[in-house]
Symmetry: C3
Subunit: 259 residues, 3 copies
């Protein structure tokens, strides 16, 4: 077992927290309700199942509240933007918040669709535990603010993923350099990563640790998949195997985190 | 070729029937219309294609009757519970029944959604040839009744899948111990298995033999996939290969059936 | 590097054009907006990402125009036939045509659904750059006309895929014999191939060359995948890897084209 490739006690701690979390997910099997886009549903469910979580996906008005009531965490992804999903999101968020459980917003492509951006802004009022997005989506959502300022103002955890991921609650910040370029060549990888964040939020009460751990876990699984993949097809398959098999020693050895 | 690992002539017969069926599917290429949930559509179509069946998936009001008219069997899966799918199911069931062709009900998660449970109960009046579900869904649908009693009363074949699958028409019962734990780690495996049941119902007039054969075939494919998989990603890929390559000798050698 | 297995300078040229195109796709990364069926969305996005194109998939009325405005090409696939998709297709086609950008029609299963066939006929008036279909769909769309006559009359490129693909603009015709039988055992392969055509139309102004190159590229990727696949599961994964890794030498060596 190597030392984590970071630079401080915090960083060692994050790898340790992530290792704890991956074990906790397998034991607790949190229920994660996902209101997500049509393209991402299959991979999202498979990522959650690979780590031991139990996904549900319904957007039907007649039953979304029943599912949200029993969910340990909620994902709201804006990648398919239809009235049914917006109604489902509103109902599920109200339910999950009344139970004081966590939810995460993934504002997919709000930089390319003004109606999505407007809706994402209204959802901020419902206090997501975390928001995961890329740099363009962050700029659309937050304008000129720094991630730290925005996270502090909104009392949320901001995760901006890219070559290096940034995770911050305004006070503490982690940068994670794990991951592989093939992630950008398989559809819905980011969407599935957000679902993993929902799962970790369900079993780790500190949202910063939960979000940073999820990104670290996903990035390391990507590193492993990238080593055996021959292209995006095998990469998309191997990352599920890597998530399923991930263990503490591997996380500690591979974590590339700075604070 | 080993003897089947069961205990009676019936069991030998079931492995034989399943071997006949897998060959018949490839020759006859039955058309299977699937009204199924959004997450399961892709895997369901691929399982059907792997065994030689021809899937269709439309739920549009304007054309579902045309597709059902030409289908050899119908699957109704309640995993996405929206008004369009309910209208499509009602129309397709009426069409398939008027042609005296088989249909199977997969009452996904009715134990977690009262509206789904209520709808599943109304569908019983339309006499499904078979119902495939897990233990929790069976309890929701059937209450205290035994599978045998319920099958006899409803004049249907009941299949309850789990570590050991049970298939009964009330008079005859098979238990199938094939399958692999990774099946529970890939989304929509049960949904796809129900589609395979629809395909076998189309080419085997005895519904008990059809349902039990489908579960045996799927379980053996799972066994094979489990032996080469490194996790749920490769498992989901290898089970399609195993279904495509399955032959009589393998079925006879691997069947774990008791009656 | 072998010589292409065709019979003329035109054929050598097509392999060359295809090799140019695969490189151009990776550099230019064209945006392809896809209005396509629910079953095909995931594979379609992954095929586009594998060759370097950037897919979008929204069908929401409130934003489809915004996406089409920024798209370099458009795919309209009729495999899920609902009012939302028809409205989205009408809006997206109007937008793409007003920008003089290419679009391709994939009239999935119009031979089995009269309403789809009627809608496909109305779309011909909007002058698709290309139409990709199988033989049964061609007969439904074109009746007794030859592909050449129909292409000339409609001023479009007609691609009829099957064991040997035919591509014609009425004046010039290519026949492509690449591809593998397992393509018919994986759902949505044809749909994804149409999306690849949209991508090549975006970076090659001669639509005949674009369409024929796309079919050649997809067929060669299928050949390669077929050599390592153990069945349809691994085939569906390996074809994405093959598309991602395809290079000029492989295209020139493997092209089976006649004119």
């Amino acid at each position: 077992m190597h030392a984590p490739q970071g630079d401080s006690a915090d960083v060692v701690n994050l790898a340790d927290h992530a290792a704890d979390l991956i074990e906790r997910l397998r034991v607790r099997q949190p229920r994660v309700h996902c209101i997500t886009n049509a393209v991402a549903q299959n991979l999202t469910a498979n990522v959650l199942l690979a780590v031991g979580a139990l996904p549900s996906m319904t957007i039907a008005r007649s039953e979304v509240t029943a599912f949200a009531t029993r969910a340990d965490a909620l994902l709201v992804n804006l990648g398919t933007f239809d009235p049914e999903r917006r109604a489902a999101a509103d109902a599920a968020i109200a339910t999950i918040r009344s139970a004081a459980r966590p939810w995460i917003l993934d504002p997919v492509l709000i930089d390319r669709s003004p109606p999505r951006a407007a809706y994402a802004h209204t959802l901020l009022a419902h206090r997501p535990s975390a928001i995961r997005m890329n740099a363009a989506e962050f700029t659309e959502l937050c304008g000129e603010a720094s991630p730290q300022t925005f996270a502090r103002e909104q009392r949320t955890v901001v995760a901006i993923t890219g070559e290096t991921d940034l995770v911050t609650d305004g006070d503490r910040t982690f940068r994670i350099a794990n991951g592989h370029p093939l992630m950008a060549r398989v559809t819905a990888m980011g969407c599935a990563e957000s679902a993993l964040v929902a799962a970790t939020l369900a079993v780790q009460p500190d949202p910063l640790k939960a979000v940073a751990s999820a990104l670290l876990i996903f990035g390391i699984a990507g590193d492993i998949a990238g080593e055996t993949a021959n292209g995006p097809g095998t990469f998309g398959v191997h990352i599920l195997d890597a998530l399923f098999n991930l263990d503490r020693a591997t996380i500690l050895a591979r974590a590339k985190v700075t604070s």
